[in-house]
Symmetry: C2
């Protein structure tokens, strides 16, 4: 076993691309991913998993068809499976996502913002 | 749906007991728990789940039989299932735990530090 702490800031320093989640840890069948986001993502949903968002720095709006959740550093929200949502960050936001293994970032929507899946950093 | 952010500091302010995890969110069959710890916990293991530790403030040592992981704020570690460990905090440490539903804090060890299970805050 490797007895080293996983430092989130150090992991964030290893990449700069937006909307491109990087896996940092695995727990049972759940992955912890770090992602930097800025601007508007696509409307999408994930049929098979809830998705937890934890804001590490900056702020994120998660828009839903009937409301918006506004998250800042130290705040989290769990988007239930099957619920359409659109993340929007007015400035760069650093996030931790926690979700089931095998989840594609754009869910049912696809398109050009679709990132390679389950890439570790 | 309730479109409110979950603020970790606000949730931590609602309790003061040590070694008494409080559930703040659920994602699939995984729970997010907040816990305040200080001093030495008991040696134990969890046969059926890995356990993720994320330090929100303070510092935590996770002792293993053959090594120690030293975590500070913004750092995390996943303890694999079945592996004996003992959390030790020299000063008060605020943690987020992420683990499967139904996990008892003292695992196989039991004893007086065993907390009521899956209590929400």
């Amino acid at each position: 076993m490797n007895y080293e702490a996983l430092n989130l800031d150090e992991k964030f320093s290893r990449f700069s691309e937006h909307w491109s989640p990087r896996v940092v840890a695995e727990m049972n069948d759940t992955l912890f991913k770090l992602v930097k986001v800025q601007g508007e993502f696509v409307w999408h949903s994930h049929a098979d998993t809830d998705e937890a968002f934890l804001v590490v720095s900056g702020a994120l709006d998660i828009e839903f068809r009937h409301g918006t959740v506004r998250l800042k550093s130290g705040e989290m929200f769990v988007v239930p499976r099957g619920v359409e949502h659109r993340p929007v960050a007015r400035e760069e936001c650093k996030l931790m996502l926690v979700e089931a293994k095998g989840v594609v970032n754009t869910g049912n929507a696809g398109g050009e913002l679709t990132a390679e899946n389950d890439v570790w950093v």
